[in-house]
Subunit: 201 residues, 2 copies
């Protein structure tokens, strides 16, 4: 059995190495500009991560804006709170696309809210723009991928953007600075547990 002093020494050595690695990386990271973050994958937590970043942003006194491409018609806890904190929300008003079953109406609704997104992506007063569930709009052909990429690339240098949704197009992850893929290892829904107000929506 290894005695406590040896274990403590090993722990200290590991933490020291961790600190050195982190310090080195922090020193190396010197470019200051807005970033493009893509949160994709099939797991739970993509939109909430986007909204958590918006909460962080406005908590520092910066301006942020949100376009919700799918979940808009629900009673939405995060919107209640963040709109109250001065965040502009633009919401696609058709709800889940499989509820409407009408490609032309969905395309028109997506295009309408995309105009608001383009305005936000050109607004240097916005520190952060969240385009929640935009990946589906590209996937279903409601938005033109080239137009989305052009608007992202032309945004003000200090502006950060978060894109969320499953199946982000490869060309979106290519231009992103940070890409996280959320994998579902387990989901309460599959065990018969109902989506919960204040947690799942």
């Amino acid at each position: 059995m290894v005695d406590k002093a040896v274990k403590d020494e090993r722990h200290k050595a590991r933490q020291q190495k961790l600190k050195e690695n982190v310090d080195k990386r922090v020193d190396a990271a010197q470019t200051e500009r807005g970033v493009l973050i893509v949160i994709t994958g099939n797991g739970k937590g993509k939109s909430t991560s986007g909204f958590g970043t918006v909460a962080r942003c406005v908590g520092h006194g910066y301006k942020a804006a949100v376009v919700q491409f799918i979940k808009g018609t629900w009673d939405c806890g995060e919107r209640n709170l963040l709109e109250g904190a001065g965040v502009e929300f633009q919401v696609m008003n058709t709800g889940f696309t499989w509820e409407t079953q009408n490609k032309e109406a969905d395309t028109a609704a997506a295009q309408k809210v995309w105009q608001a997104a383009k305005r936000m992506l050109a607004d240097p007063s916005l520190h952060l723009v969240l385009l929640d569930e935009i990946t589906y709009m590209v996937q279903y052909g409601y938005l033109d991928l080239d137009e989305v990429i052009d608007a992202l690339n032309a945004r003000p240098e200090e502006q950060s953007v978060v894109l969320t949704g499953r199946g982000a197009h490869r060309r979106l992850t290519e231009i992103a600075d940070t890409v996280s893929e959320v994998q579902p290892l387990k989901h309460a829904f599959d065990a018969g547990i109902k989506a919960r107000k204040g947690v799942d929506w």
Copy 2:
């Protein structure tokens, strides 16, 4: 070339099938209770997902509380906003553990804030408790895993809990209802871009 009417018909059929599958799963999910969610993995977006869920919760008028096991000593945007919205925060006051290099002091600090976590996990007025970065406390041996599991299992039935952090212990993911693993496909930091106020912290 497939003409537009045929493509629209195919799109409609796909969306119809999607709707049927989702409806079936929604009908099957009838158990109503609080859930335990674990957001783990090495990618960016775990803590922000937890804080987004807190924003959602309080936006519906429910009570939520947060324990921050690591990031506490920074100027923290999400805390500024959410404390203002009535969320109780308890913060471990040593910052990153590799800054302190002192296992005994870290253990004492973790144990102190864990007492607050235990109180929260026994409080039926809380709809949601976020234990941010608790996985490291278990991993480093600062908290006893059995004690953490007992407190989680004994919590009020209506209370949901979110645990975040890399390398969640297998026994934590086993008792969880929902587990997401955030994989880092790319990170701005690795391209030399500095962590950004209002986005990364």
